[in-house]
């Protein structure tokens, strides 16, 4: 006879509040689809999503100080669901970053004026592209307001991935964040076939990556005999078993997460999906997915596999170099602005891995008060996110005959015709390139410094050289925008007047990019103050 003993887990709901709010609002969004009249849905969903994310962000910031206090007394904050989810300083930082960018993306979802009164999403995803059904739906003014709950579900998955302390939850979180994104990618209003193709590719490759991840989880389970990170860390330190299984598991899990980050050679989906997906969705996933995946990788490798540092550091260093160089080289010959930005996003995945490799933390000799690896990763992602969302917002506005004109040829001379727009775009591009006075520069500086101090000076040097090549990507776009005449007889490209949501997004990104470039100190200090992973007893 087997006695099943079930102890109710102690759940610290207050500490989980931000996550619960976002998840709850996503569920609420489903109910809205069911019960609110069709006409009012888009507005309701918009308001709900924005308010929900704002509440989540507010709750995170409200608790931020707590993380610091809890560190002094670990017993008091081994909260969350005991063992599987852990809320500590880095988690709160990453939540704030995720919900902040999620909020910006949600605002961008609501932009309609740029699309001549419609949304960026297809009126009826189930209709065959180009069919009568589709055009009827379009004329009837149908919209897929489900995009908001989908994005919120995805964000919930991301929030879980950031906070997980358990391999199984890690896998679940990756799935929760991915599935809605597959759907969202296929919802573009124009060029629907490309969009659907992108969604399918993303799904197939994502499924493969998930399988690899799960395989890795199985190996790690086999090695440590449990799913939790502390068990893993304990086994790494004390197990007498041969570590072949451990290495295999570690490598496979790394592949699964690097796929989500979009690092070479697991990046192939990125350009196709970024190009095909609706631009607001591209903005959302290029930033939030990357933040969540990097955070998940960071926690697993620092807290769970910290003892294997000497093994994973060289591997990740190789991936980082490969990513930076390959992405920068391929980006140079791209003819589509969205693809240029997709490769730029891949290159940035490489840059952000640089401080991860450095592993410069309080445990590895970081002096108190300096920015270490974790804080610099956070800062880097913030700078990258602001500039990337800003760029995609601008892309939404450049149109020809009602559609986005994202081919580079169409952009010729557009900066001179629309100087204000041109300057704004240039600032975002320069931030991505890492030119001083922008957040991108401070992020690169902090990131490379962390790697340098962590002993990976050669990686920092290679990264600097790589970023010089990468500068070319952005300068090329600037050159086309300002110094090339449009070809004779090409379609006239115009900049549509942005609606209020797009203006808000542009303003936030611009202020953030310049503000953090000029005064990076406060945010960097705040991140640094909350950058120690809580490593539970037993590790």
């Amino acid at each position: 006879m087997i006695f099943l003993e079930f102890t109710a887990p102690q759940v610290d709901y207050v500490r989980l509040l931000p996550f619960l709010i976002v998840l709850g609002v996503a569920c609420l969004g489903i109910l809205v689809e069911a019960f609110v009249p069709r006409k009012a849905r888009f507005v309701t969903q918009t308001a709900l999503a924005i308010l929900g994310l704002a509440a989540g962000l507010g709750a995170t910031i409200w608790q931020w100080g707590d993380g610091g206090r809890g560190l002094a007394d670990p017993a008091s904050i081994t909260g969350g669901v005991t063992g599987t989810v852990l809320v500590d300083g880095p988690v709160q930082c990453f939540w704030a970053i995720l919900f902040g960018f999620g909020l910006i993306a949600a605002i961008l979802f609501a932009e309609r004026r740029a699309h001549a009164g419609a949304s960026a999403f297809t009126p009826m995803a189930a209709a065959i592209p180009g069919s009568r059904l589709e055009s009827e739906a379009s004329e009837a003014g149908l919209v897929h307001s489900e995009v908001f709950p989908l994005a919120l579900f995805s964000l919930s998955g991301m929030a879980l991935l950031v906070a997980t302390n358990d391999l199984l939850v890690l896998f679940v979180a990756v799935e929760v964040l991915s599935l809605p994104l597959y759907v969202l990618s296929g919802l573009a209003r124009h060029r629907r076939l490309i969009s659907q193709e992108a969604a399918l590719k993303y799904f197939l490759l994502g499924a493969a990556a998930s399988a690899i991840l799960l395989f890795g989880v199985a190996f790690l389970f086999g090695y440590s005999g449990g799913f939790s990170y502390e068990k893993l860390a304990h086994a790494v330190s004390f197990s007498t078993m041969g570590d072949g299984i451990l290495l295999a598991g570690m490598g496979l899990v790394a592949v699964g997460l690097l796929f989500k980050i979009g690092a070479v050679p697991f990046h192939s989906w990125v350009p196709d999906v970024y190009q095909g997906a609706p631009t607001p969705v591209t903005a959302f996933m290029s930033v939030c997915t990357k933040v969540a995946a990097v955070a998940g990788l960071l926690r697993l490798f620092y807290a769970g596999l910290g003892g294997m540092r000497w093994n994973w550091q060289p591997i990740l260093a190789g991936v980082a170099i490969l990513t930076i160089i390959v992405a920068a080289i391929i980006a140079i010959n791209q003819t589509d602005v969205k693809r240029v930005l997709a490769y730029s996003s891949v290159a940035h995945a490489g840059f952000v891995l640089v401080p991860v490799v450095g592993a410069f933390t309080l445990q590895s000799g970081l002096p108190e008060g300096q920015a270490g690896s974790v804080a610099s990763v956070m800062f880097y992602l913030v700078g990258y996110g602001l500039a990337t969302i800003g760029c995609f917002t601008v892309i939404m506005l450049v149109r020809s005959q009602g559609r986005e004109a994202s081919s580079l040829d169409a952009w010729a001379g557009i900066g001179r015709r629309y100087p204000l727009f041109g300057v704004v775009m240039v600032i975002f591009l320069l931030s991505l390139a890492g030119i001083p006075l922008t957040a991108g520069f401070m992020g690169k500086l902090a990131a490379f410094m962390a790697a340098w101090r962590g002993g990976y000076w050669w990686l920092a040097l290679v990264a600097v050289l790589g970023s010089i090549i990468a500068v070319f990507i952005y300068i090329r776009v600037i050159q086309v925008m300002f110094f090339r005449e449009p070809a004779e007889g090409s379609d006239p490209v115009e900049l549509v007047r942005p609606g209020v949501p797009a203006v808000i997004v542009l303003a936030l990104c611009l202020i953030g990019t310049l503000g953090l470039g000029l005064v990076p100190g406060p945010l960097l200090d705040a991140f640094q103050a909350a950058s120690s992973f809580l490593i539970p007893a037993g590790a």
Binding site: L200, K201, L204, L205, A208, A209, I212, D243, L247, A248, M250, G251, L252, A254, V255, F259, V264, P265, F266, S268, W269, P271, D272, N311, P314, I315, G318, V319, V326, A328, I329, I330, A331, I332, N333, Q334, I469, F472
Partner: protein, 635 residues
């Protein structure tokens, strides 16, 4: 260790010392920002600003003098400028016996020159701008002397450089004025680099640029580094004070309006180098080599300036050469060490009076001669411009060192101190005194005596009261300054480390050196009179002249030397760099671009759009990572 004062925290009026700087700075900003609105009254408030600062400074001076000796230095920290790593930069003021004397000189002479300018610039269409720049200069100069750290000194140092540039090329429509401004600015940059490098070195060695920290640390400096800092500070001083080899800009700077020449290029700014050297006394104490270099540079300059002064016909250039020469005396004194510092400052103050006096006198002469500056077109002006003549004459007697006039006290001290320190320098300084007497006598004879050589349309006349009253005030200073200061300045400056073996009395102390000096001066005067007073002066400059005169007329070929030493080499270097850029770096950069682009073209074909290819890429990547892990384990 020097017996320097430790600054006490400012109380009472001293808490408002920043007003000294703020008043002229705000007025300058107002005049420049409000623009034409202030055209009608701007010059009036601009003239009141230095007067207000002067009154404030005077009260502070009296309070300081009454305070016990230990409290003679007052520190006032205003705010934290920046913190960078372990470096912490405060903006603070230091009011001590040295700086308060400078403040009085700057605001006092500055006020007088502002008033004079009311008359001199009355008809200039850009009068408001002129006064705004003058106020800007006063503010910057006060920052320079009131700062409590080198980095804040540097702010003022650059500020006066800017004001000097703006005022030299004030009549920028004249190409010569524009070029002169540029020249001054560029040559000053060379000196500025010296100050910057000195500051960097201090930061690296001491971790601070504040005077108190540097002074404390100076005795423990390795003598090599102390010498290095000393030479860099000397370079800075050479640039600002027009000392050899950076002297060439000062003669061209006379393109500026005459009040500017009087205030900036005679009385105050050009003496900033002397201030810097005296202020850095603690460092020079550690390095006899740099100290000797200061004295040698000073001596060379005093002779070069005097030489140039002898051969020029342009009245302002004679005075400019004379300024170089007199600052050379100050540098010489500053290079002698603590024994000379008080005399350097003493001569600086008296020179501030008599040189400003003579420059303004020259301005008055030009005013009466339709702006002509050629002394060969003057002559016999003593009757036409009696007040100008008398006041100029007092300045003349002061500079040649006529007994009981101010220069007599201050210059004698320097020559005497030079003899005690290094007889060779003393002899050269003595010769300089004789040459000074010669060229000043020449100037007096050609301008005020002899027969009139005026052009037909020139009708010399005395200047208006707004111009001659300042002349009278400065003349009083030129006469009485020496007597008034002689008895106490040595003791007063003891607090900043000076050790003057002075004679605390207004009576001259008769020594054999003093007697010899008087004899040499008298010889110079007689020679000048014999050549230019007794004999008629040709209205055209004679062309067949000795090599010595030709050299002097060409500023001893300073420009040519500079060009050949720096300009040519620079041009060759620039051409070389350009060539290397064009033939070496450009192809390299283009080549890299080509390689990357070609590579990109090849690699992008992997991205063919097929999911199967992508899947294979991923699988290969996973295998690679696995292999790498295995290899890392095997190694």
């Amino acid at each position: 260790m020097l017996e320097t004062l430790t600054p006490v925290v400012a109380t009472g009026l001293f808490q408002y010392a920043w007003l000294l700087i703020a008043i002229p700075a705000i007025v300058a900003a107002l005049l420049l920002i409000l623009g034409k609105v202030t055209n009608g009254f701007g010059h009036w408030i601009a003239s009141l600003a230095p007067i207000a600062s002067f009154v404030l400074a005077l009260i502070m001076f009296i309070q300081l003098a009454q305070a016990p000796k230990a409290d003679h230095a007052v520190g006032l920290t205003l705010y934290t400028w920046m913190t960078s790593g372990a470096w912490h930069f405060d903006v603070g003021l230091l009011i001590d016996p040295l700086s308060i004397l400078f403040v009085l000189l700057i605001t006092g002479v500055g006020s007088i020159i502002h008033i004079y300018s009311l008359g001199y610039m009355a008809d200039d269409p850009n009068r408001r701008r002129f006064f705004a720049y003058l106020n800007l200069f006063i503010a910057a100069m006060l920052i320079l002397v009131l700062a409590d750290s080198y980095i804040v000194v540097f702010v003022g140092w650059e500020g006066v450089g800017l004001a000097s540039y703006l005022l030299i090329s004030f009549w920028q429509a004249k190409p010569s004025a524009a070029a002169a401004g540029k020249k001054a600015f560029l040559m000053n940059r060379v000196g500025d680099m010296g100050l910057l490098v000195a500051m960097f070195t201090m930061l690296a060695l001491v971790g601070s640029t504040s005077f108190s920290r540097v002074d404390q640390a100076a005795p423990f400096l390795n003598s090599g580094w102390a010498t290095f800092i000393g030479f860099m500070l000397l370079l800075a001083a050479c640039g600002k004070s027009a000392q050899v080899p950076l002297q060439a800009w000062l003669l061209d700077a006379m393109e500026g309006p005459t009040p500017v020449s009087a205030l900036i290029h005679a009385a105050t700014m050009v003496t900033a180098g002397v201030y810097l050297v005296v202020r850095s006394g603690a460092i020079y104490q550690q390095t006899p080599a740099a100290q000797l270099a200061v004295a040698i540079i000073g001596t060379i300059t005093l002779l070069v300036g005097a030489w140039i002064g002898c051969s020029k016909d342009d009245i302002k250039k004679v005075l400019a050469g004379s300024t170089m020469s007199q600052i050379g005396y100050m540098m010489l004194a500053a290079g002698i060490g603590p024994a000379g510092w008080a005399f350097a400052i003493f001569h600086l103050l008296t020179h501030g009076f008599f040189k400003a006096n003579m420059f303004l006198g020259a301005g008055s002469v030009m005013h009466g001669a339709n702006g002509d500056v050629d002394m060969r077109h003057f002559g016999a002006l003593r009757k036409a411009m009696p007040i100008t003549f008398v006041t100029f004459g007092i300045g003349y007697l002061a500079i040649i060192g006529f007994p009981f006039f101010s220069g007599f006290y201050s210059k004698d001290h320097i020559i005497e101190a030079a003899f005690h320190a290094q007889p060779v320098l003393g002899v050269l300084a003595l010769i300089g005194a004789g040459v000074t007497a010669f060229y000043m006598t020449r100037l007096m004879c050609m301008t005020f005596f002899g027969q009139a050589r005026w052009a037909k349309d020139v009708h010399p006349h005395e200047s208006p009261a707004v111009m001659w009253v300042p002349l009278v005030l400065l003349a009083i200073g030129s006469f009485a300054g020496g007597m008034a200061l002689n008895s106490w300045i040595g003791e007063w400056l003891a607090g900043v480390g000076a050790k003057a073996g002075g004679h605390p009395s207004w009576l001259p102390h008769i020594t054999w050196i003093g007697v010899v000096t008087l004899v040499v001066v008298a010889a110079g005067v007689l020679l000048g009179w014999w050549l230019f007073g007794k004999r008629p002066v040709p209205a055209q400059a004679p062309q067949k002249v000795s090599i010595i005169t030709t050299m002097g007329r060409n500023d001893l070929y300073g420009d040519q030397l500079t060009y050949n030493a720096v300009g040519r080499g620079g041009a060759v270097l620039a051409r070389g760099v350009d060539l290397a850029d064009e033939k070496g770096l450009d192809p390299l950069a283009d080549g890299t671009g080509w390689v990357v682009q070609t590579l990109g073209d090849k690699v992008r074909h992997i991205q063919n759009g097929y999911v199967r290819t992508y899947g294979v890429t991923m699988a290969v990547g996973a295998v690679l990572i696995g292999l790498a892990l295995v290899v890392s384990r095997l190694v």
